[in-house]
């Protein structure tokens, strides 16, 4: 009993294969997830639209009134960090539950489970789109006209989404392996938010602290948004390349592990 081998011939003509099939499955999983999470009831839609506004409001109050550190357009500066973090943390929360949430289909049929973390990120990206409204609103409130640097914005968003997707792979596995780790991981993610220039920009930090904080991949993302929208300048190369490299390493390590593990998910759920 040493050799393990499974061979499946092409299915019926009605079925599609290859990348197109992967896109179909990914979109079907994402649409189902969106309907389940956000699709019914005005209260859920309200939460989806106003969650980032509420978070920015709390931090804005904290920074401007309690800490008394006004800075340059503090609302927009904080929004740049909150919006970037929002997609990361919602992707973490969503991915940690994603296998057990889909236990019914995992136990019922074979499909490419490595699409599940991508689907979690895609679901939360749709929610993330409401956050972009917040950035525009903050620019309007502070009277900041977009400069040519705004052309960097899509690239910053792309790196942000890639980072969220990359982190979803290990966390989907951790969520499956260690169910009770969810709160701990979310707390850890929140700690990473505060160990980055979230409430105050990097320019207001100095010395060794600023150097250490640059090691956090969220730092580059936060500053990238600020450069494109607040300072009107191109992001420094490290701000995009460091989180990009971090994401690529995560994907290179965890996608192969995920592929090997996904065949056994039905044994755990």
């Amino acid at each position: 009993m040493a050799v393990a081998h499974a061979q499946r011939e092409a299915p019926a003509a009605s079925a599609t294969r290859g990348p197109r099939r992967a896109v179909d499955v990914l979109l079907a999983l994402t649409v189902a997830d969106l309907r389940g999470r956000y699709g019914r009831g005005s209260a859920r839609l309200f939460k989806w639209l106003f969650d980032p506004f509420a978070v920015v409001g709390v931090y804005l109050f904290l920074v401007t009134l309690i800490l008394n550190r006004p800075g340059e357009a503090p609302g927009l500066s904080i929004a740049c960090a909150v919006v970037a973090f929002q997609i990361v943390v919602t992707s973490i929360v969503s991915s940690m539950d994603s296998i057990r949430q889909r236990a019914s289909i995992i136990l019922n049929m074979g499909f490419r489970r490595e699409l599940i973390p991508l689907s979690s990120t895609l679901t939360e990206s749709t929610a993330f789109s409401s956050s972009v409204v917040l950035l525009g609103l903050m620019m309007a409130i502070y009277g900041l006209a977009p400069t040519v640097a705004i052309l960097w914005f899509p690239l910053v968003v792309a790196v942000n989404l890639l980072f969220a997707a990359a982190i979803a792979y290990p966390l989907t596995l951790i969520g499956l392996w260690y169910e009770d780790m969810r709160l701990f991981v979310v707390s850890l993610a929140r700690a990473m938010f505060f160990l980055a220039p979230s409430l105050v920009p990097l320019s207001q930090l100095s010395g060794q602290i600023a150097d250490w904080i640059k090691l956090n991949p969220l730092t580059g993302l936060f500053e990238g948004y600020r450069d494109a929208l607040l300072y009107g300048q191109a992001p420094a190369a490290w701000e995009l390349l460091y989180p990009l490299a971090f994401s690529i390493v995560l994907l290179a390590v965890f996608v192969p592990i995920f592929r090997r593990e996904q065949r056994h998910f039905a044994k755990l759920v």
Binding site: P11, A15, D24, S104, L107
Partner: protein, 239 residues
């Protein structure tokens, strides 16, 4: 249509930690490994076009594991598995439905996962709703549907994907008499076209009506592979 399923010395292994919790290979490296249990061991079977086969045996004998490995839900840990043909399956008690989605939304998801493109799946939604016979229940959340209604929807969605191999695990036993007759009719239609039906369960009269061949499993191994009546006799007598 030429459907076929061939298993050669097939094995499915379950690794457990010292608290008897199941492990995946990577998790087995992170946690202290306890024991190994074989869900299926050295199973060699061939299912030919036009066959209807019942998997029978006591609980824990490997019926569901065998169906799941054919469906691609579980991996082949040893031996060899060859499958030719599109698979339609209904393998879990909730019929693969997500409780927060409506019947229609579930049907759209199941149809794509079952092999259809998204556009083709959209076209099939009304036929799935009609075939399931759920009426207004098709637009309700799955959490509000009874086990029988879920099974109806799951089977209707599987059927509309045009399966050549139909796998049914006990869920069909939750169906009412009218829909059972419908399943028998579909099973006959499928096997007449050269497809394969493999059904597992404990309702022997129901399986006997649907299947001509019986495979008796015990402790993950094939104990008997005969015409259904004979295999049933071995099972009931406990030989």
């Amino acid at each position: 249509m030429r459907a076929g399923v061939r298993l050669e010395s097939l094995g499915v292994e379950f690794m457990l930690d010292r608290h008897s919790r199941p492990l995946t290979p990577m998790l087995a490296r992170l946690r202290r490994r306890g024991t190994t249990a074989w869900g299926l061991r050295d199973v060699s079977l061939t299912f030919e076009p036009g066959e209807s086969v019942a998997l029978i045996g006591p609980s824990g004998s490997g019926k569901t594991t065998l169906l799941r490995v054919i469906a691609g839900v579980l991996p082949v840990d040893a031996g060899r598995l060859e499958i030719s043909g599109q698979i339609g399956c209904l393998l879990s008690t909730d019929a693969g439905l997500m409780p927060t989605l409506t019947g229609r939304e579930n049907a759209a998801l199941l149809a794509v996962l079952g092999g259809l493109s998204r556009s083709r799946a959209r076209d099939q939604l009304d036929p799935i709703g009609a075939r399931s016979g759920l009426g207004p229940g098709f637009e309700r959340q799955a959490s509000s549907l009874s086990a029988g209604m879920k099974a109806r929807l799951g089977i209707a969605a599987a059927w509309e994907t045009g399966p050549q191999i139909l796998l049914l695990d006990e869920v069909h036993e939750a169906l009412d008499q009218e829909f059972r007759e419908q399943i028998f009719s579909w099973a006959r239609e499928l096997t007449a076209r050269g497809g394969i039906v493999i059904a597992a369960g404990q309702d022997l009269p129901l399986l006997g009506r649907m299947c001509r061949r019986g495979v008796l499993l015990r402790s993950g191994e094939v104990q008997a592979d005969r015409p259904f009546k004979e295999a049933e006799g071995v099972y009931v007598r406990g030989d």
